[in-house]
């Protein structure tokens, strides 16, 4: 994939930070507004996919490579499981909310819910990207 015209590239480059930020906002405000880790993660993945479509696979791979995505996905999953085990260590049971609940409606409230959503966001973004990469590489022959 060689990439697209300069107009598309410019627009994509300008839009990328905003899309990424919007995805991060959705992830972090999952406990206050509609949304959460899944839609937010997909939006973050979409922002990277947009770059890939505009610039071609080589440039995008410098930013987030296949290997990075694979590791990030595992990390996202591990964050969730470790947070669950954290509850097991400090509290009584798996996934117990052991962090302070905070004040209703604030960003730093609801104990471990935002952290869990952060893990989900990382994982979903990396996962969707990985699916996209896997499908791309399938048509490029033998190389890794």
């Amino acid at each position: 994939m060689a990439g697209m015209t300069v107009i598309v590239r410019t627009i994509a480059r300008l839009l990328f930070p905003f899309t990424f930020l919007f995805g991060a906002y959705i992830v972090l405000h999952g406990h206050l507004t509609p949304g959460g880790g899944f839609p937010g993660g997909v939006i973050i993945a979409a922002s990277v996919v947009m770059l890939i479509l505009a610039y071609g696979i080589e440039r995008a791979q410098k930013r987030v490579s296949f290997l990075h995505a694979e590791v990030l996905e595992s990390v996202g999953g591990l964050v969730i499981v470790v947070l669950g085990l954290f509850g097991l260590l400090l509290g009584i049971t798996f996934l117990q909310n052991v962090f302070p609940l905070g004040e209703l409606g604030q960003l730093f409230s609801a104990g471990n819910l935002p952290l869990l959503y952060l893990g989900v966001g990382i994982k979903v973004a990396a996962g969707i990207l990985l699916i996209f990469y896997a499908m791309l590489f399938a048509f490029r022959g033998g190389e890794e």
Binding site: L104, G105, I131, A134
Partner: protein, 119 residues
């Protein structure tokens, strides 16, 4: 005869029709998605309360939690559907990648032809 429930079940029947009678892998996957969406629609409608509001505390509701509880819709089916949608996406993604693979290597989208092709 309840309109919401009936439509949801008709969607399920439509998906079933697609699954039983179509001979194209993409259409089969669409049928699967339609079927599951019918079920999601049923689940969501089960939690509706007449005149209900979204299950998110906001605005003046912060100081009136009992009033909020008396007016909001059921959050449980929404959570279930959230889970189920992701599961359905996963199935569709995996099915589509199998389809792409089959099409690339065997050049057909008809599941019954896949067998005859190579024997």
């Amino acid at each position: 005869m309840d309109f919401n429930y009936t439509i949801a079940m008709l969607l399920v029947a439509l998906g079933l029709y697609c699954l039983l009678l179509k001979r194209n892998l993409i259409k089969l996957i669409i049928g699967l998605a339609v079927l599951t969406d019918g079920i999601h629609l049923l689940l969501i409608s089960l939690g509706y309360r007449t005149g209900g509001i979204a299950a998110i505390v906001s605005g003046e509701m912060f100081s009136d939690l009992p009033g909020f509880a008396a007016r909001a819709v059921d959050p449980v089916p929404q959570a279930l559907v959230l889970t189920s949608i992701v599961i359905n996406i996963c199935i569709v993604a995996f099915a589509l990648s199998l389809t792409i693979y089959a099409y690339r290597h065997y050049g057909t989208l008809d599941p019954s032809k896949l067998r005859r092709l190579k024997e």
